[in-house]
């Protein structure tokens, strides 16, 4: 579904990604592992059009999206819940969610349906729907971020370290929701520090280091790979 080929990207004079190749299959959960600064966020930001790639190609459902604006990319079916969440802190939870539908402009009934789906996934958000997003706890904010991305009814959901800074119990809850979204058929591209948990429900994985893909394979293979175990699983 998503094909990243020989992608090079960076900021100003700094090159971050070097010839990165990644594929995310439809309906699958693709995991990207890597230490801080390995280029995971830059990769995601380039896919969603926040950063322009210098060379290489990004295709989504066989159409090139590397020159499209973020707006068009969301409409094509890729939604990105970024690192740091980037919510609208003073707007209510519900407005944050409905703004997630901005690019799609769904009809009222579709919008309601999408909203119900998010509230089913994260019931606490329904309770807090009229509160300012910025007043929520970190875990709840992360739920808003994922929910906002889901509101565009994406075919591919990009999640950049959704468990960052969350308590273990909340992390589990969030990752469970991610697995649930995936099991309902939405493709997921996930970067996650919590490799142990994520490898458990991922289908395929890549390991990034210094802007290069150094390892890739089925999630079960990665789980048994001594390098991965040493670096990410603390075995």
């Amino acid at each position: 579904m998503l094909e990243v080929r020989d992608l090079c990207a960076g900021y100003d004079t700094v090159d971050v990604l070097h010839n990165v190749n990644i594929t995310a299959e439809a309906g699958r959960l693709t995991l990207v592992l890597g230490a801080n600064g390995s280029g995971k966020s830059t990769l995601f930001r380039t896919i969603s059009g926040l950063v322009r790639g210098r060379s290489g190609s990004i295709t989504f459902e066989d159409k090139s999206i590397s020159k499209l604006s973020s707006n068009r990319i969301v409409r094509a079916g890729i939604a990105h819940a970024p690192e740091g969440r980037h919510l609208f802190p003073q707007l209510s939870v519900e407005k944050n969610l409905t703004l997630g539908n901005y690019a799609r402009r769904s009809s009222k009934s579709e919008l309601k349906e999408l909203l119900t789906r998010v509230f089913d996934l994260f019931p606490i958000l329904q309770e807090k729907r009229s509160q300012a997003a910025g007043s929520l706890s970190g875990g709840q904010q992360q739920m808003v971020a994922i929910g906002r991305a889901l509101m565009s009814d994406p075919k591919l959901l990009i999640l950049d370290e959704p468990s960052m800074g969350l308590a273990p119990m909340v992390t589990e809850q969030v990752l469970q929701a991610v697995a649930e979204v995936n099991s309902e058929g939405t493709g997921v591209l996930l970067a996650e520090q919590n490799a142990q948990a994520a490898l458990g429900f991922a289908h395929y994985g890549y390991v990034l280091a210094e802007g290069r893909v150094v390892l890739s394979g089925a999630a079960s293979d990665l789980q048994n790979d001594p390098e991965v175990q040493k670096a990410y699983l603390g075995v």
Partner: protein, 288 residues
């Protein structure tokens, strides 16, 4: 008491004008994070345009203001495209220099078209109305009503419409806004257009009370900056509260102390607020 009520209405009408002028500036600050030093010049152009439509083109007063607002919205969008958009990645001092340049350009342009003379725009709305036993001119009543109507419409637009929400979204998180598919460029243009239209309404309303001249925007510019700092940069409720506070304070100080005190009061209030609450009264959008 009569004097007080009269001055209260004067303050209210002045406050309405300040509000409309200040909201535009605070909106632009909220979205683009730049103080648009040319905002006062836009106000001045708005006054001249209203004057032109009313006296030279002969359209009715309220329609003249609406037309001026429409034309100024176009000028505002043009200013965003030509002056600020190319500088979007430049240091903020560049914006200030460019804005000052735009201000001088507009001064000269107006001077070239209408000359440097002071002009008087006869108030098309004449007569007085008795409110609470006091005579208040219809012009001032019109200012207050128009300001309130425009403020309500603006609040509705920002809170209830998709385009208005996109302004708030960009104000609060540019990256988040891009990721949900909002085009920050378009929001910048929309904001500039809206700000210019609002300041044109302010200028058109007050033009019959004051004189029109090419540097008329400079005085209000400084006061409007005081208002948005007072209310909290980027905050619309702050601009409304700040605008009416300053309008009333100015009217009262002018009456009960002296005309000079009226001019000074804005800055006295500003210094007090900055000393006690440096982030402004209703700080909202600037905490990041």
């Amino acid at each position: 008491m009569t004097l007080f009520i009269q001055q209260f209405f004067n303050g209210l009408s002045l406050g309405g004008v300040y509000c409309l002028a200040a909201i535009g500036l605070t909106l632009v600050f909220g979205v683009l994070r730049i103080p648009n030093l040319a905002h006062g010049a836009l106000y001045m152009v708005g006054a001249y345009l209203t004057y032109f439509f009313l006296t030279s083109a002969g359209v009715p007063y309220i329609l003249a203001i609406a037309l001026a607002a429409l034309v100024l919205a176009g000028i505002g969008i043009g200013m965003e495209r030509v002056v600020f958009h190319p500088l979007r990645n430049a240091p903020h001092t560049h914006h200030m220099i460019a804005a000052a340049g735009a201000m001088f350009f507009l001064h000269s342009l107006v001077q070239a078209i209408w000359g440097a003379d002071f002009r008087r725009m006869e108030s098309p709305i004449t007569g007085r109305v008795e409110i609470l036993g006091t005579q208040v001119s219809w012009q001032r009543v019109t200012i207050v009503i128009t300001a309130v109507v425009v403020l309500i419409a603006l609040t509705w637009f920002i809170k209830k419409t998709v385009h208005g929400q996109s302004i708030e979204a960009v104000e609060q998180d540019r990256v988040g806004a891009s990721l949900v598919g909002i085009n920050p460029n378009r929001v910048s243009m929309l904001t500039f257009g809206l700000a210019a239209a609002l300041v044109a309404v302010a200028a058109g309303l007050v033009a019959p009370i004051n004189l029109i001249y090419p540097t008329m925007g400079d005085v209000i510019m400084v006061k409007v900056f005081a208002i948005i700092i007072l209310g909290g940069l980027g905050s619309i409720p702050g601009a409304i509260v700040g605008g009416f506070t300053l309008g009333l304070a100015e009217a009262m100080a002018t009456t009960y102390v002296s005309a000079v005190a009226g001019e000074v009061i804005a800055f006295v209030v500003l210094i007090l607020v900055l000393a006690i609450r440096p982030t402004g009264l209703l700080t909202k959008a600037v905490q990041r």
